[in-house]
Symmetry: C2
Subunit: 453 residues, 2 copies
C-alpha cells in the first residue's frame, strides 16, 4: 500500500491486458512512447506541482506477475495460454523521463514520458495515472493552503476522510512536499519521515466527568506538549479553564503550548480566546484552529483579523474537495519511429517525445516551451532521465530535498498565477519543430482516416 | 491494501495515541461506546448506502502492534515505556453493532456502534471513519448513477483517477454493491469476485498505421468479445469502419459485440452511429458510451434520446466528484454508565447506545426512528450484533448477498428521496426515551460546564 514495491500488476484496467494480448498476437514489440500530461487545469488552478514520481519508479522496478496473478487471469478464460506464458516473463525494461517532484509544471506539459516495448508501456497506464494524478492534485491543493496561510504552520489532519488508506499516506506525503509542517497520520510519519503532530479529540473531554479534569489529565501526561481542545461545550468557557490549567502548569515549571478551536466563528473566537489568555498572562500560548479549513477559509478568517498561529487542515485538502481529480492523461505519442496522435473532440494530444524548457530571471520564472526532445531551445530542460533500461539513474531522493525544491521554485512564481480564484494563465509556448511536426501529422491523419470515409 | 488483515494500527491520528496514553496513565479502562453517523447529507443526497463494514471487521480481528510499529513509537520520544509495553498486548476485545452493508440509512442514524475498553475504541477512530466514509460515499454516488441509467448496464471505469489504489479497489466493490454490472479493475475483480470488463484505448488505435487495421487486429484476437472504440479520429468515420469489420466478422461466423463512444455530443452521435449500424444490418451491435459520465450526464443524454445500451462510468463516480466526502463522525456517546455528548456549534451528538427502527409496508419504507438500544419501538431493528468480544458473530458475507439486499431495499424507497437534485428529507424521528435522556444530559452538561464559567 505504501509504495510500489509490493503492488500487483493486476492494478490495471482490463483493456490494458486485452490490448497487450492483441499486440502480442501481432508481434508488435517496437518501442512506444507514452506521455503523461494534464489537459485542463482543475478549477481555479493556474499551476501544478509535480509529485508521486518515486512511487512510479518503485512500481516499475518491481513490476512482475506472480503465479496467483497468472492463475486468476487464466481463470477468466479471456487470454491465450501463450500470452500468459509471456506475461510471466515480462519486466519493465524501458526508459523514463520526468519532471522531478516538487517542481512546478503547467497544462499540456509532459510531467513524465515512458519509452518501452509497447506491451510494457501500455500495461502501466492505469497505475501511472492513478499515482501521479492523486499526488499532483493534493500537492497543488496543499500549496494553495500554504500560500493562503502566509507563513503560519499547517498540519495535515485529513486521514479520517481521505479516500482510503493509500490516499491517507499519499496526502501526508504530498502536503508535506508542498510546505505543510507535519501530519497527524502516524503511519505517514513513519513511512516518509514526516514530523507527526496531534492534540486531543472531543471524546477525550467527554470521557471525563468535567472538562477541566480532562485538561489536567492531559497536561500531567504530556507536560511538554499540551494543546487543549476548548470547544466541546463552549469555547470561551473552555478557554478560561485552559488558562487555569495553563497557570497550574506554570507553577509546576511547564508551559501550556496551545489551545485548539474546532467550531464556531473562528475569527471572532480566536480574538476572544486570545484576550482570555492575555488577561491571564499566557501570551505565549498558541492558538491552533481546525474544522473545514482550506485555502478559502484560511483567507477568509485571516482577512477578518483572526489571531490564529497554526491550522489543522483536514478533509477539504485531503480530498482536494473543490477539484477532486485532475484531467490527466497518458497518451501514446510515438510508436517505433512514427509520431502519433488522436483527434477526439476536446482531447487532442501533442505528438512525439518531448522536452520542456523553462526560462527565468533571478527572481521569477517567465515562460515555458514544450518542444521535441531533441529540439534546441533556450531555458532549463525540466524532464530528466530518471530510469534507463528499467533501472533508476539515481538513488531515491529524500522527501526533504523535494520539499526544499518546491519551496524555492514556488517563490519564483508570480502571485498572479497563484490567485485562489481565476488565476492568470502562465505562458507556455510550443517549440517551432514540435509545432511543424504536429501540423504535419494532423494533416496526414486527417487525410488517411477521414479522406477515405 | 485490500482489506484490513495486514494493515498497521499506526494508520491512526497521533492524538488517538496521546489520548490513549493519558487514559492509560489515569487507569481509565471502562467500556466506552462510540457511534458512527453522518451529521449532514452531502449535497443533493437524500439517503445513504451502508458499505465497508467487512473491512472494519477484518481490521478489528487482526488489530495488533508489531515490533516495528512499537520501535517507531519509541523513537518518537513521546510515549512512556510502560504505555508501549501495554500497546504490545492490546487486541480488540469489544462488541460491534452495525447496519448491514447494502441497507439504506439516513443522517443522524448510527451506522455502526463500537463498545470496548476506551483505549481500544479510541485507537480505531481514524480507520473506522476512513473505511466507512469512502465506501458509503461511493456506494451512494454509484446508486444514483444506477437510478439514472434506468436499467442500462454500468461498468466502473474509474481506477486511473480514484484517489489512490486502495480507493480503486474499494470503488470497484462499492459500485458493484450498489448495482453496477462490473469493473475494469482487474485486481478489484480478483479481490472481490466482481465481473471484469474492458474494451480498448486510443493508444491501441494509434499504434496501428490505420484505424481499420487496429479494429481487425482486435477482432482477430477476441472474436467473441469485440467492442471497438470509434472516436479516435472521427466518430462517424470510425463507425463506418467498425461496421465494415462487423460484416467481416459475420462472414467468419462471429458477431461484433459493440462500439464505444468516448467524446463529443453523445446523444446525437449515438443516434447517428445507430443509423450507420442499422443501415449495415448490424442491429444487434451495442452502443457503449464513456467519458465524464455521472448521474447528471446520464440523465441528460437519455432525456435527449441517446441510443446508448451501456455506460462506462469513471472519474466522477470514482471520486464522488460533486460530494467527495461525507460528514461522518465517530463520537463517544457513553463512558461506563454515563451517557455523554458534546455541544460544539453545529456538531451536536446523540447520547448513549442506540438502535434504529424502520417501518415499512409491502411496497415502500415509511419512516425510521432512532431510539435507545433497549427502547421498545415499532419496526425492524437495523443495527445487528456483528462482533462480540472481538470475534465475528457470523462468517464473512458474500458481496452478492449485500448487492441483492441493496437492490431490494432501494426499490422500496420512494423516488422523491432519490431525486438527483433537492430530494425530500426522509422522516427520521427520535424515540421518546432517547429524547428524554438527551434533554436531561444536555441540561446537566450545560449546568456543569457553563454554569461555572
Amino acid at each position: 500500500m505504501q509504495a510500489g514495491k509490493s503492488l500487483s500488476p493486476l492494478l490495471t484496467d482490463l483493456y490494458e491486458m486485452t490490448m497487450a494480448a492483441a499486440y502480442y498476437r501481432r508481434e508488435m514489440c517496437s518501442p512506444a512512447t507514452f506521455s503523461l500530461f494534464v489537459r485542463e487545469y482543475p478549477s481555479h488552478r493556474g499551476y501544478l506541482v509535480s509529485a508521486g514520481l518515486e512511487h512510479v519508479l518503485d512500481y516499475l522496478e518491481a513490476f512482475q506477475f506472480d503465479q496467483k496473478d497468472l492463475g486468476y487471469l487464466k481463470d477468466t478464460g479471456l487470454f491465450p495460454g501463450e500470452f500468459l506464458d509471456y506475461l510471466e516473463t515480462i519486466r519493465f525494461t524501458g526508459n523514463v523521463h520526468a519532471i522531478p517532484e516538487g517542481r512546478l509544471f503547467f497544462k499540456d506539459e509532459p510531467v513524465l514520458e515512458i519509452t518501452a516495448p509497447i506491451i510494457e508501456a501500455q500495461l502501466l497506464e492505469s497505475f501511472v495515472i492513478n499515482v501521479i494524478n492523486l499526488q499532483v492534485s493534493i500537492a497543488t491543493k496543499a500549496s494553495r493552503c500554504v500560500h493562503a496561510a502566509q507563513g503560519r504552520n499547517l498540519i495535515d489532519f485529513s486521514l479520517r476522510r481521505t479516500q482510503g488508506m493509500d490516499a491517507g499516506l499519499k496526502v501526508a506525503r504530498a502536503s508535506y512536499l508542498a510546505g505543510f509542517g507535519g501530519t497527524s497520520n502516524v503511519l505517514g510519519g513513519k513511512a516518509y519521515g514526516i514530523p507527526i503532530s496531534g492534540t486531543m479529540a472531543h471524546s477525550f473531554i467527554t470521557s471525563f466527568e468535567e472538562e477541566i479534569v480532562a485538561f489536567r489529565a492531559f497536561a500531567e501526561t504530556f507536560p511538554d506538549n499540551t494543546v487543549l481542545l476548548i470547544d466541546t461545550y463552549d469555547t470561551i468557557a473552555g478557554a478560561k479553564k485552559a488558562a487555569e490549567v495553563g497557570k497550574e502548569m506554570e507553577r509546576r515549571g511547564y508551559s501550556l503550548k496551545g489551545v485548539r478551536l474546532d467550531s464556531g466563528d473562528m475569527a471572532q473566537l480566536s480574538k476572544d480566546v486570545r484576550k482570555v489568555l492575555t488577561d491571564c498572562g499566557l501570551e505565549s500560548v498558541k492558538i491552533f484552529a481546525s474544522g473545514a479549513f482550506d485555502e478559502y477559509k484560511i483567507t477568509d478568517v485571516l482577512q477578518k483579523g483572526a489571531e490564529i498561529d497554526a491550522f489543522g487542515i483536514g478533509t477539504k485538502m485531503g480530498v482536494s474537495a473543490d477539484a477532486p481529480y485532475t484531467d490527466m492523461a497518458y497518451k501514446l505519442v510515438q510508436y517505433g519511429n512514427r509520431p502519433v496522435l488522436k483527434l477526439s473532440t476536446g482531447k487532442k494530444t501533442l505528438v512525439s517525445k518531448k522536452q520542456v524548457f523553462r526560462t527565468r530571471t533571478d527572481t521569477r520564472i517567465i515562460q515555458d516551451s514544450i518542444a521535441l526532445r531533441e529540439e534546441e531551445m533556450e531555458g532549463e530542460p525540466l524532464l530528466k532521465p530518471v530510469m534507463e533500461k528499467g533501472e533508476r539513474t539515481d538513488p531515491q531522493e529524500p522527501l526533504a530535498t523535494m520539499r526544499q525544491r518546491f519551496s524555492e521554485e514556488f517563490a519564483l512564481l508570480d502571485d498572479c498565477y497563484k490567485a485562489l480564484k481565476d488565476p492568470d494563465e502562465f505562458p507556455v509556448k510550443l517549440g517551432p519543430e514540435l509545432k511543424k511536426l504536429q501540423e504535419k501529422v494532423v494533416r496526414k491523419v486527417i487525410k488517411k482516416e477521414l479522406g477515405e470515409s
